[in-house]
Structure formats: C-alpha cells, structure tokens
Symmetry: C2
Subunit: 191 residues, 2 copies
C-alpha cells in the first residue's frame, strides 16, 4: 500500500474477526518497529509477541477500551476480542523520551498492520502489574503499551473538525465509529 494511503486509512480497531494472526505477520510488524528512530539509537525497548490463545485471553481481560463509547466498543471474549498482542516493554524507570520512542515504534506497527489488512489498537489503559506478571517479564522490566491485533470487524471513519469543535468520537445509528480530527489549519502556526 502507498504510505499516504496507510496513514489515511489506519484507524484504531476494536472489533476483530476470530481468525488467527500468523506469527510470521507479527514478525513483519516488529521488523517495522525496530526501524523507527530512537534517542541516541540506544534501542532500549523490547517486544513480546502474544499469540497463544489462553494467554491472549488473560491479557485481554486486563485491558480497558474506548471509554467514550462504552460498552459498544469493548470487545467481547471469543466474539470480537483481539487474537494477538504485541507488548512494548521497557525498564521500570522509563523516561518520557522512551515513551516517545515507543510512540514512533508503535506507529510503524500500526501502519504496517494496516498495510497487511490487519486491524490494530494501541492500548495504554490496562492493569499494569497483572499484565507484567502474565508475561513473566525479567526483573526491572514493565509493559509500557500493548498493541491489540486481529483482522478487523468494523470500519471506523475519520472526519475533519475545526478549532473549538469536540474531539469526542461517537457511534452513528448504523453503529459506525466516527473519529473527529482537527484540520492542519486548526493545529498549525506558520512562521
């Protein structure tokens, strides 16, 4: 897919088909993640690919979803839930800059997922200690973010908004998720 299409078409997906994601495809996503830039090229982040069914389910039960349209975009286990996760792992004392590194690496994962007809959702809200324990992380490491994965079972749409408009996403009467995004003009000063 053309880069511009991947950037435009990628949306967070919260309803997934119950089809397995091949580990080879997750390898492709992490290959994209590792090529993102990072502070001082230090490459402190690590990744855990989770595809084993019962572990995916256990991790899923510790995640929180789309507060603004609750419960309509809270996936249901074995019906619309993600079928895999990538956990982005960092040292306990992760700096703000390491969060920025994670953002860049995750964006590559999300774009690469869209390019492979895969749905994804970047998750920051989860029971941290429980997920760390489930993934049996080495001492001194923690899960910074999760990326939920699966083939998409919804098609959210983006719409443009201007300065002052609400950024709240919403479901229409056909159960389509609308995601308002500020225009370039609303966000930018030119000097």
């Amino acid at each position: 897919m053309e880069l511009a299409d991947a950037i435009r078409k990628r949306r967070s997906i919260r309803r997934f088909k119950q089809l397995q994601v091949p580990e080879k495809l997750i390898h492709t996503l992490i290959d994209a993640a590792r090529m993102a830039p990072c502070a001082g090229n230090m490459q402190i982040l690590r990744f855990v690919s989770v595809t084993e069914k019962s572990l995916v389910l256990s991790v899923f039960h510790e995640t929180f979803w789309a507060a603004q349209v609750k419960p309509h975009r809270t996936p249901v286990a074995e019906v619309t839930a993600p079928v895999a996760f990538i956990a982005v792992v960092a040292p306990d004392d992760a700096s703000a800059i390491l969060h920025a590194d994670a953002g860049a690496a995750i964006q590559n994962i999300l774009l690469c997922a869209a390019d492979n007809v895969l749905g994804s959702c970047w998750i920051g809200a989860f029971n941290k200690d429980k997920v760390d324990a489930l993934l049996d992380l080495p001492a001194g490491m923690k899960v910074l973010y999760l990326v939920a994965l699966g083939f998409p079972y919804e098609s959210p749409v983006m719409e443009n908004i201007e300065e002052g408009d609400s950024t709240k996403y919403y479901l229409d009467d056909k159960d389509v998720l609308h995601v308002p995004k500020y225009t370039v003009e609303a966000l930018t000063t030119w000097k």
Copy 2:
C-alpha cells in the same frame, strides 16, 4: 512510495542541501501527523512550521546533533544546515503519554518526508527556553520536540546487529553514516 519502502529507507539526515522546502510540503507532513492516533483522541499537540530564513537559523543555533560522531554530523549554518523545522508543541505539564502521542505523530512526519524525497531529523536536544522564546509560544505551552527538514545531502545506511552488539552509529572511511539496528530476533520474546 510503498509503506514498507518508506519504513526501511527513512534514516535521520543531518546534512541538507540549501534549497527551500515549500510550505505546501510542510502542510502535507502535518496532515500526516494529525492522522496519527492519540490517547483518548484528545489531540493536545500543536505544530509550528518554521521556514522564515533568519528564524530557522536562530532555532538551528539552539540545537544539538549526533553526539556519537561529533562534530562530523553537526550541520554548518548556510552550508549543510536544515532549511525548515516543525516544532511539536505541548502544554508545560506534558505527560509521558503525550510524549508517546508526539512520537507517533512525528513518525508519520518522518515517513511522509521520506516519501517526498525530503530529509528529516527528530531532535530532542535543544535549548528549550530559548526555542520557546524564539517561537513566541502562548503562555503555558512549550516545544516538546523539533523536526529538522531539508533535501538530503547524505545517505546513511542501516545494518543489522545481534544481541550484545554495540548500537553506536559511526562514519566509515567514505564519510557514510552507519546505523546499527537490532534484529527482530534480538528484540522479541514469542509467547
């Protein structure tokens, strides 16, 4: 350009041709940035496009570059320096999660730059108070990161390394910058 090519070919650029970057192209980059996901879809980040020559130079003088190969990849004003910047702006009390949002938005900018034959370098090291003052930011806002822009005047190369190898980037005897990146195998646990 295909997404996979943009991800693979994008490298941080620190030597730029002294050709102007059209404001229209910067609009395209910020259009990519705004489409990145962000926590709660809140869209707190703002952007300042800097193309006015004397302001670009003033901002450039407050930036720090590539410590590991200093001074060989410290651009020289009016010779190899960037010709534009995008400043990513946030509230003074920016959370770690907002840094992650910035990382995702910046990654879209960097990929979109590569797609438009433009070089870019994400900069986290700069004199923060001075750059804030130069850009005349509204009260309570600060520059979180800078992205330096210009048409590239170098061609860095990526190479694969295994666990335990040094991540230090280096110049070879032909003045080509080499950027070591861990393989997927070195970074990933499979569960």
